[in-house]
Amino acid sequence: MLQSVVQVILAGLSTGMFIWLVASGLTLIFGVLGVLNFAHGSFYMLGAYFCFTVLKYMGANFWLGLILGPLCVCVIGFIVERFFLRYVYHIALPYQLLLTFAFVLIFDNLVKIVWGAGSISPPALAALGGSVDVLGRKFPIYNILIIVVGPLVALALWGMIEKTWWGRIIRASSSDREMASAIGVRVPALFTSVFVFGTWLGALGGGLAVPYVGIMTSGMGETIIIEAFIVAVIGGLGSLKGAFVGALVIGVLTAFGTRFFPTFDMFLTFILMAGILLWRPQGLFGVAR
C-alpha cells in the first residue's frame, strides 16, 4: 500500500511539474498583461515538436533540443504579441480570449501540416533511461529530474521577480500599469518581454515533456492548457506561488484519481476548480481584484 501511494505521489509530482511549467508562463502573462492566453498550450506543444525536430535531425542531442526548441518558439511568441495581441489589450475580454483561441486553431493545424496528422513517438532516450529503486519499485531517473527542475524554475522565477530590476518593473506594472508608465517604464516593451519569457517557460515544459509523454499529438497543447487554467484559477489568477501549489495539488490529485477512481478523475478536478472559485474567487493565493 505504502509503495503504491509513494509511487502515485511521485508520478503526480512529475505530472504537476509539467503543468507548473505551463501554468507559470500563463500566470506571469496574466499577471502583467491581463490576458488569459489560450494559445499557451500551443507553445507547450510547439516546444515539444521543435525539441523533437532538433533531436531528430541535429545529432540526436536532447539537451541541444531543449535549448534550441524553446528559443524557436520564443520567436513565434514574439510575433504573436508584437503584431497581434498588442492591439487588443484595450478592447473587451471576449476579443482577447478569442484572439488567442484563433492562434490555438492555427498552431494546431500548422503542426499537423508540418509534422503530420498522426501521433509521433519520440525515440527512446537511452541516456536518460535509467531508473532508481524507490521502496523496492523502479522509478525513472528522468521523472526525478523533472521533480527537481520544477522547484528550480520556481526558485529562479521567485529570485528574478523579487531581486532583479526587471522583476521590480514587473511587480510595479502588474499592480499599477499607469503608474509604471508614468515613472518611465516602457510598458509595451515590458509586455513583449514578459510574453516572450512566458512563452519560453511553456515551450520549455513542452521540450521536457518529449521523453516523458511517450506519444506526441497536435492536441497535446489543448489538454494541458485546460489543466493549466485550472491550476492558475485554483492558485489565484496572477499568483505564481498559487500556480506552483495548485500544480502540485492537481498533479497529485489527478494521479490518485487515475489510480483509485479512474472513471471520475476529470470530474473531481473540475469540482475542485469550481469549488475553489466559488469559495474564494481570487484563488488560494490571489489578491481580490
Binding site: L36, F84, Y87, V88, I91, A92, L93, P94, Y95, L97, L98, L99, F101, A102, F103, V104, L105, I106, D108, N109, L110, K112, I113, A117, E222, I226, F229, I230, V233, L237, T263, F264, M266, F267, F270, I271, M273, A274, L277, L278, P281
Partner: protein, 320 residues
C-alpha cells in the same frame, strides 16, 4: 424599432429561400441548411447572454448536451413524441442552467468565463464517464424520429430529412422571432443596461444578479432546444456536445457575424457552416483557415460581417 423596407424584404426573401431549399434542394443541401438553423438557434440564444448582457460563457455546451441527452432519454424511456421530447430538452437545459447559473452569476468577466468552463467540463466528464447511463464516449444512439402526432387526430411524419427539415425550419423561425422580441423588450433594454454599466443598473433599481441569472437560463434553454434538434437530426447524442470546444462555437459564430446585432449570429451560422464545407472539400486544413479568418475579424472587423455590411449601407445611404 420599425423594420426598414429593405430589412423586411431581406426577411421575406430569406424565408422564401429557406422554404425553397426544403422543397427543391438535394439531400445534402437540406442537411446543411438544418445544421445552419440548429447552430443559429444555439447562437441566437447564446448572444442574448454575450452580445446583450456582456457575459462570456464557456459552458453553454453543457446545456446543449442537456437538451440532446434530455431528448434522448425522454425518447428512449418515456415517449417518442418529438415535440414532447423537445419540450423535455428545453426544460432539462433550463433547469441545469438555473442550477449552474445560480453559482456563476455572482462573478463576472474572467471568473465567470472560468466558472462556466469548469461546470461545462464537469457535465462533459460526467457524460463521458458514466458509461452505464450515458453510453460514455459512444453517446446515446438509436433515437428515432417518430411522427409528430396531435392527440392522435393528425400525424405528420418527420422520418425523412426533407420532412424533418420543415419542423426544424418552424422551430428556427419561432426561435428567431422570440429572441428578437426579447431583444426589443423592456427586459432586453435592462440587459443592455447591465452590459453597459452593472453598477448603474443596480442604482436604476435592477437586481443585476437575478437578471443575469434569467438571461443565463433563457440562453441555456435555447441551447437545449438546439441540442434536442440536433439529436433528432443525427439520431444520437454525444458527450462532445458539452465540451468547451463546442461551447466556443456560438461565440465564434456570433463574432463572425457581429456581436451586438440580431442578424449577426444568423449570418455567422451560415458563413461558419458554408465555410467549413467549402474548406473541407478542398483541404484538410479547416482549423488553419478558420483561425486566420478569426484573426482578421478580431484585428480589423470587430463588427463582424453584419457590422461591415451596415457600414456599407450607411455610407451608401448618407455618407455618415
Amino acid at each position: 424599432m420599425k423594420l426598414k423596407s429593405w430589412q423586411m424584404a431581406l426577411v421575406v426573401l430569406s424565408l422564401l429561400a429557406l422554404v425553397g431549399v426544403g422543397l427543391f434542394s438535394g439531400r445534402f443541401m437540406i442537411y446543411l441548411a438544418m445544421r445552419v438553423m440548429i447552430l443559429a438557434i444555439f447562437a441566437l440564444g447564446y448572444n442574448l447572454l454575450l452580445g446583450q448582457t456582456g457575459l462570456l460563457s464557456f459552458g453553454h455546451g453543457a446545456f446543449y448536451a442537456a437538451g440532446a441527452y434530455g431528448l434522448g432519454f425522454f425518447g428512449l424511456h418515456l415517449s417518442s413524441h418529438p415535440l414532447l421530447g423537445l419540450l423535455a430538452a428545453v426544460v432539462l437545459a433550463a433547469v441545469l442552467a438555473l442550477i449552474i447559473g445560480f453559482f456563476c452569476v455572482r462573478h463576472t468577466e474572467i471568473y465567470f468565463a472560468m466558472l462556466t468552463l469548469a461546470f461545462g467540463m464537469m457535465v462533459f466528464s460526467l457524460l463521458w464517464s458514466a458509461r452505464e447511463v450515458t453510453g460514455g464516449d459512444d453517446g446515446l444512439v438509436g433515437i428515432m424520429r417518430d411522427p409528430v402526432s396531435f392527440f392522435g387526430l393528425l400525424e405528420i411524419p418527420i422520418g425523412k430529412d426533407r420532412q424533418y427539415y420543415f419542423l426544424v425550419l418552424a422551430v428556427f423561425v419561432l426561435s428567431a422571432w422570440a429572441v428578437q422580441r426579447i431583444r426589443l423588450s423592456p427586459l432586453g433594454l435592462a440587459l443592455s443596461g447591465i452590459r453597459e454599466n452593472a453598477n448603474r443598473a443596480e442604482f436604476a433599481g435592477l437586481s443585476v444578479k437575478n437578471y443575469r441569472l434569467a438571461v443565463f437560463v433563457i440562453s441555456g434553454a435555447f441551447a437545449g432546444l438546439a441540442g434536442g434538434l440536433e439529436t433528432l437530426l443525427e439520431s444520437n447524442a454525444r458527450p462532445f456536445m458539452a465540451h468547451w470546444g463546442h461551447s466556443a462555437e456560438p461565440i465564434l459564430v456570433s463574432l463572425l457575424g457581429g456581436l451586438q446585432t440580431f442578424a449577426g449570429p444568423l449570418a455567422g451560422s451560415v458563413i461558419f457552416i458554408a465555410m467549413r464545407e467549402m474548406v473541407q472539400r478542398f483541404t484538410e486544413n479547416w482549423m488553419l483557415w478558420f483561425g486566420i479568418v478569426l484573426l482578421v475579424i478580431i484585428m480589423g472587423f470587430r463588427g463582424g460581417v453584419v457590422g461591415v455590411f451596415q457600414r456599407l449601407i450607411g455610407q451608401a445611404g448618407g455618407g455618415r
